[in-house]
Symmetry: C2
Subunit: 366 residues, 2 copies
Amino acid sequence: MPADRHAARRQKLIRAIRRESADALLVTNFTNVSYLTGFSGDDSHLLIGPSATVLISDSRYTTQLQQECPGLDLHIRGPGKSMTDAAAKVVARAKLATVGFESGSLTYDQWHALAAQTKSADLKPLSGLVEKLRLVKDSHEIAEIRKAVYQAEHGFQAFRACLLGDMTERRAAHELEHSMRRFGAVGASFAPIVAVGSQSALPHARPTDREIGESSFVLVDWGATAVQGYKSDLTRIIVTGKISPKLARIYRVVLNAQRIGIDSIRPGLRCCDVDQAARKSIANAGYGKNFGHGLGHGIGLDIHEGPRLGPSSTETLKPGMVVTVEPGVYLPGWGGIRIEDDVLVTRDGCEVLTSTPKELQEAVLE
Amino acid sequence: MPADRHAARRQKLIRAIRRESADALLVTNFTNVSYLTGFSGDDSHLLIGPSATVLISDSRYTTQLQQECPGLDLHIRGPGKSMTDAAAKVVARAKLATVGFESGSLTYDQWHALAAQTKSADLKPLSGLVEKLRLVKDSHEIAEIRKAVYQAEHGFQAFRACLLGDMTERRAAHELEHSMRRFGAVGASFAPIVAVGSQSALPHARPTDREIGESSFVLVDWGATAVQGYKSDLTRIIVTGKISPKLARIYRVVLNAQRIGIDSIRPGLRCCDVDQAARKSIANAGYGKNFGHGLGHGIGLDIHEGPRLGPSSTETLKPGMVVTVEPGVYLPGWGGIRIEDDVLVTRDGCEVLTSTPKELQEAVLE
């Protein structure tokens, strides 16, 4: 019962709003609005609090809102009325004294306009309240992430089977997205990284016109977005030539670190300790300086969300969190090896949601 | 000479900054940063003014910045330093008294952090300065938009030739994007609209599982993004069944209004008058209430940018502006007809950049 699921999320948020001594929160981040209401459109805000909850939108969305969010109070702003005009009106009508706003999402101009129009209310910057709820996924969200994993993995298999040496990185990235869509994805969860040889030394390489066959291996970092917006995120190496001793060595170091990171995951562990476990393993192998980014991040409606698994992360793992584990070793001029899986924290440990083979021998393209 | 092109844009902006009595502008919108520097990455800000121009980025981008923006001063922020930390440092070092910021882009939290760290400078909200420069395209930009038009039109032709009655709207939208990429597009310039029959009555319909053959016509609104980020935007009807008298009538009304709108375009005309010319024609035919949106909008690095062609637009057309002309008539329950082309304002009139056939007979799928 979807209505109950969203109502439950709103109830939790209302408790958090009370704890912040606010009468309501104006939710302006569209992803947060979707999370709280089930509405799949954009350009809409949600004013939510113990005494009133109103979704503010425009007439393009009236029908869709009635279908997707039955029972929710709507305020449809008229033509020529800005979102801040409408929000100010709703705040005034609800006679609220202290209204929180998402200060990490509202622009200075929007805040300024809102403040000028809500003179009777005190605006209070509050950030991260909804993001905090989104850290722990409910069963519906986990099922949706599983769909995005399915689409990414099957799309990758079909893509891999069609890979040719004279395909450019750019073309390959496009083929991969197309392939994931054949399995039901709305699209890629981010522009796929297809990085041949030395290009893979850049953790955020963008596809170029370099051809797949120009080196002996290619790094692919990709994911799918499922219909309801949930995402997956994986990285694999595809070996297209001979396995050099150096490739074999680096690959072993990274895969070993990734396994150590995954094996450490359990509720109650600090996120920085997961990072530390994998990082120490890479450092012990002599490549500490070649792993310059955090070990992983949460995935959900956003491709990067909480919790972060990094050296300075302050969060603690809880059942229902879904994180990537993606150590890498980058050698400028030679290339980089990164291996990434999506992991669900369970009550007594974790479950790896992704199952694309990752032994080096399995990475060889026949 | 790309460096000159970007330097010329920066010189114009510096003059605008002087007119606002500011010592510099902190450009935080990534698209604006690209426009001013040629840098194709993100997560970077530009502090620009008469006395100093510095691009603020991080170490992931050092190599790319040296290649793409030779000669530009760089400030590479260290790990653990936020963008506002770095910007504050650059502002302090340049000893600036009044620093403008892009108030339509900076979030409240970013502004607050910046204000706390730049106590010696006065922060002044300035919005739209770069957007104003972007209104008029230079020859390089027009050439890039032509590429995006080429990719969209050839992609559409190939897509149209493969369209099948049992394809879903969603599948068709994916095939269209894939097809544009075959002609060099980085991707679609926005999620393509493929709306069968009555679905087309929603100006912002999202593709569903409805099949192409379920009605006698389908509306397709699509465009391409070329490699340097410039975009195109078109709409055509594809007739998949019999042309009913109603379809013929509505189509004639819309096509006629679109031609009137295009024919009116010339430098010196107010944007609201272009809208009015087309709108009056639709109203005279008795469908005034069924055309609820503006006539068009600028395209460039963003799919929606200035100038707007709407009833309340205050801008005046200038040579080098590129706008869409897209009247529509929407009949709830029956469907909508919209026809859209991209038009360049020239010195003595205009040039229609798009040439996909638009006579009703040419819309029939054989």
